[in-house]
């Protein structure tokens, strides 16, 4: 039987069973029970839970007091019980939650707390115990965890029976038989060569001591360099290191089966990075995978296909859903890397942006989300449209704007489709986007907004209208303006429509404008007058020779207000360069 940790050469002290001080036993019992109670609480509650805190506090106080009096507390460990000096103090035979069993199963037979034990040490110890209990029993190893922590005032005795039970069980040791006698019989006669050399050394250096110059000495300046080498190794992320190595292995591996198995590890590594929200390294991984695919495509179609399979999986439905969960969880530390990662998975991740958008305001990430859309959108109009929603007005507007910037006439049907949301802001954005697309289709599409229920939309449409080859545009406006109820529209709307007509330089429009100015209706005098004033304003803004001619005619009309407005408009036109240019 062997013992590990600090007690490699110690035997369990069987003599420590005699209890001279009953008070000591009582105190020890209370501490042991307190430890078990704290452990039970820690299994259920987080460390900042008040009950846990109190329990730890009580345990700390009791054990510090005990160690102050008795220097050491050694607790014997049996399968389901703790003992103090051979006296059972605590029992819990439910394997799953038993603290004695947690210690016992990994070979621990005694744990000792020594004077000098600090609160921090106790808390770290409890953390280790909790960590071990959270791992499935077959995978956890409390001895290994305590061993690596090197608690200065907590020591344990554990069996090293694994050496006999786990290694070479039933096998002969590989030890070589040595004949001890051979080592002491016979003699060593130095060779002539060695004797000569020794003689020489004796003569030349009577107080000989081999020269230290062969061994380079460690200088003060070496210390920081070595320490920085160690720090660099410590700081390197294990997952990143694994990824880097896996890529090197993939580059070197010629065997398909092994290539596939390494690739599987890389895939796991990727998912672990994603789960850890380490999107910076996950992005590097994806980029390198893409690079490697390109390199391998020329050499091995099979390997390139295996990589492609992984790449597809990174953006399948479940992966995207996972990313959404991670984002919604709100624990991402590096959003820039997160978005960079999403950019690598376009177009699938565009769909995710819709969900993200709803949360970004609280994260203050609108700008980054928009830049993601701007980068990804232009080539993915069809996908972008899918995330537009009536309830996501601002996002939908951004999407429309991005589509508009493409200037691609193929986008027109998509834009028109968004008009179904019947939202003023969205419709106005669509009109603005359509205007940016240099095609008759887009111009025609704006016409449709002239019949919207929303006046503001109709005005915007009219204001953004442009002429195109097809006469239908002029005809449509003409038709609207000629309708009896046109005069009932607001001044702004009338102006928008009439302005458009005024710029057409169309004879029929001129005739129509002339007749409108002359027209007077006693019944609707106010509205009629407003329409006529709008005509004057439209003619002024058109600033064509034909408009000037009509305005001049207007200066002779019966209506004083119209005459005056026509005069004013003409004077303004005379002063401005607009007319000269147009003429």
């Amino acid at each position: 039987m062997r013992f590990s940790n600090f007690s490699t050469l110690n035997k369990l002290d069987k003599g420590e069973t005699l209890i001279e001080d009953p008070a000591e036993l009582q105190k020890a019992k209370e501490i042991i029970q307190g430890l078990s109670k704290t452990f039970s609480l820690l299994k259920v509650y987080p460390p900042d839970n008040p009950s846990v805190k109190v329990s730890i506090e009580v345990f700390c106080e009791r054990i510090t007091e005990f160690l102050g009096e008795y220097d050491v507390l050694k607790i014997g460990i049996d399968e389901f019980s703790f003992a103090f000096r051979g006296e059972p103090c605590f029992m819990d035979n439910q394997r799953r939650k038993s603290l004695p069993f947690l210690f016992f199963k990994d070979g621990m037979r005694e744990i000792a707390f020594y004077k000098g034990l600090s609160r921090e040490e106790i808390q770290d110890f409890l953390k280790v115990v909790k960590e071990a209990s959270n791992i499935p029993p077959e995978d956890s190893d409390i001895v290994a965890l305590l061993w690596e922590k090197e608690f200065p005032h907590i020591q344990y005795v554990s069996l090293n029976e694994f050496l006999d039970s786990d290694i070479g069980f039933g096998k002969e040791e590989l030890g070589l038989e040595i004949d001890k006698l051979k080592l002491t019989s016979d003699s060593i006669k130095l060779t002539q060569e060695d004797l000569v050399e020794i003689q020489k050394i004796k003569t030349e250096h009577p107080a000989s001591q081999a020269s230290l110059s062969d061994i380079p000495s460690i200088k003060e300046s070496d210390i920081p360099e070595i320490q920085s080498m160690i720090s660099a190794s410590r700081e390197r992320s294990h997952l990143k290191e694994l990824m880097v190595l896996l890529f090197e292995m993939l580059c070197l591996e010629k065997r398909d089966e092994q290539f596939s198995s390494v690739l599987n590890v890389l895939e796991k590594c990727h998912y672990e990075m994603v789960n850890n929200k380490d999107f910076s390294n996950a992005s590097i991984l994806l980029k390198r995978l893409l690079d490697l695919k390109v390199i391998l495509s020329a050499k091995s179609d099979e390997k390139a296909k295996l990589i492609e399979r992984i790449l597809i999986k990174t953006k399948d439905e479940s992966s995207i859903a996972k990313l959404k969960d991670i984002f919604c969880d709100g624990k991402i530390k590096d959003y820039e890397s997160f978005f960079q990662y999403l950019e690598l998975l376009i177009p699938e991740t565009i769909l995710l942006i819709g969900d993200i958008w709803e949360k970004v305001e609280e994260h203050g990430l609108c700008r980054r989300t928009l830049s993601f859309l701007e980068k990804s959108g232009p080539n993915q109009v069809g996908t972008l449209i899918k995330i537009a929603r009536a309830e996501r007005v601002s996002l939908t507007k951004e999407i429309i704007s991005i589509i508009g910037k493409t200037g691609d006439k193929k986008a027109v049907p998509y834009l028109l489709d968004l008009a179904r949301f019947q939202d003023r802001a969205i419709s106005i954005e669509i009109i603005s986007a359509l205007k940016k697309i240099d095609s008759d289709t887009a111009k025609k599409a704006i016409l449709k907004f002239l019949f919207e229920d929303d006046e503001k939309v109709r005005i915007t449409a009219a204001e953004n209208l442009e002429y195109f080859e097809d006469k239908s545009c002029l005809d449509t406006i003409f038709e609207i303006v000629k309708k009896k109820d046109f005069k009932k529209k607001s001044k702004l709307e009338k102006e928008a429509f009439l302005n458009f007509l005024a710029k057409s330089r169309n004879d029929n429009v001129h005739i129509f404008f002339g007749s409108l100015l002359k027209k007077s209706n006693i019944l609707f005098k106010k509205r009629q007058n407003e329409t006529r004033l709008c005509v004057v304003s439209a003619l002024e803004s058109a600033a064509t020779p034909e408009a000037v001619a009509i305005l001049k005619e207007g200066t002779h009309l019966r209506s004083k207000s119209i005459r005056q407005e026509c005069h004013i408009a003409l004077r303004k036109l005379e002063k401005s360069d607009a007319l000269k240019v147009k003429i």
């Binding site: 805190k53 200065p152 160690i230």
Partner: protein
Amino acid sequence: MLDHSEATYDESKAVSIKARYKNLAKLGEEILVRFSSVIKTAQIFEQNNNTFIRQIGLFFNRIQNALANEKEALFQFKKNILFFNYYRVKFDFSTYDSFKFLADAFREREIGLLNFSLGLQEEELKDFILLFNDTETKKENPFEDFRRKLAASGISHITIEKMHPSEILIEESIEEQKKFAKKVFFKSITHLQEIIQRERQRKRIKVKTTQRLMQTIIDLIIQNESIMVGLTNLKNHNEYTLNHSVNVCLLSLCLGRRLGLDKRELRDLGISAFFHDIGKLEVPEEILNKPGKLNDKEREEVEKHPYQGAVKLTSLEDMNLIPVKALCVAMEHHIDADLSGYPKYWKKNYMDIFSKIVEISDFFDAITTERPYRKKVMSREEALKLMLKDFSYKFDPLILKVFANMLGIYPIGSLVALNSGEVGIVTELNPNKEFMARPRVKLISDETGNKIDGEIVDLAEKDSATNTFKRTILKSLDPKQYNIKISDYFLVEGSYL
């Protein structure tokens, strides 16, 4: 007893405790370094020498500083841990030598506690250091002898307490340590052999057992590094890869410890070194053992073993228990410091410190081991010289330097001729760097050349009458020339190495 209302943990108190511990750690480290320096100086210089006087002054100032702040300056040594005022003093690369030196000094004198108290005078401290270094101290009962002398000298502000009996390394316990170390050594070989078999049968490998094994080896190194370094002299030619892997593991762990790696890192390093050549399983035996020069195809096969090893490690069922660094080491142990060697990397442009450590240990063990293709097996000193001179470009210069200092001028296992006419084998290096050429030596022949089961002598020991060293190494000898198998001396039971 506390009730709920009383049990509020004072965070600010915790912060101040942490700050105090931090100060204590710094103070303890400074005193530790000064303490070891002054003892080393006293071993070399006379008491009226200026260097010694200056060192005493520096040490005295540090202690006064501690006494002014802490009211006490108390050193404890238990379970291989040094405490200063009950606070553990951890070592790193810069303080390793001082730590090791002081720990050895405490253990040798069986001192468990050393207390400097208020009122201490510089002269008193000087007397104490001289007594501490008194070579006439009895070996049978060093503590009692020292305490008696201390009481007689009138030193009143420095008190000592004896080490706990369980920690005193008596002859039997050292023997037991050696026996256990050998067992662990052979168990390690068996374990690797089983791993290889299980891997071939596609059975689950017990990585948890490997972890435990490494922990045991590391504990043994902490207790007695010399025993473990000595075991690397064992060479089983029939099981070269297995034996070599264990040797590389031991050498790497000793080197890693000197560099200041913590226990967890050491365990990872041990596992990495243990598996560094696992890729060789893929290389046909006839190529590995080919006596002559390899042809291009064979060389190509051999050069695949690093990444094949890494691939093998990734395919283990318990891969999550294998440290990532083990993959690094498997891949990189033939890549040189300038990134030449093999394999050639695609993008990676650095080597991990673990790979650098294992590369050095691997090379050293390989060239000191007989192989069918190796014309000459080098002695340990020859190997070290070769690495320092002709192959220095291959290795990280700083780590190689630490490795060379770890092995010393006469590495453990060196066969040496002494000025006394005796021949011996180096068993332990002198912890004082100034006495690097004065290790502990097991005498294997007397002055007439007759083989003996001699004692282990300390070459730093002086003859009190003449104040000269009793024995000095004149020359290292080639064991092959004298038909001496060094490993036999490390293997044999009894009062041997």
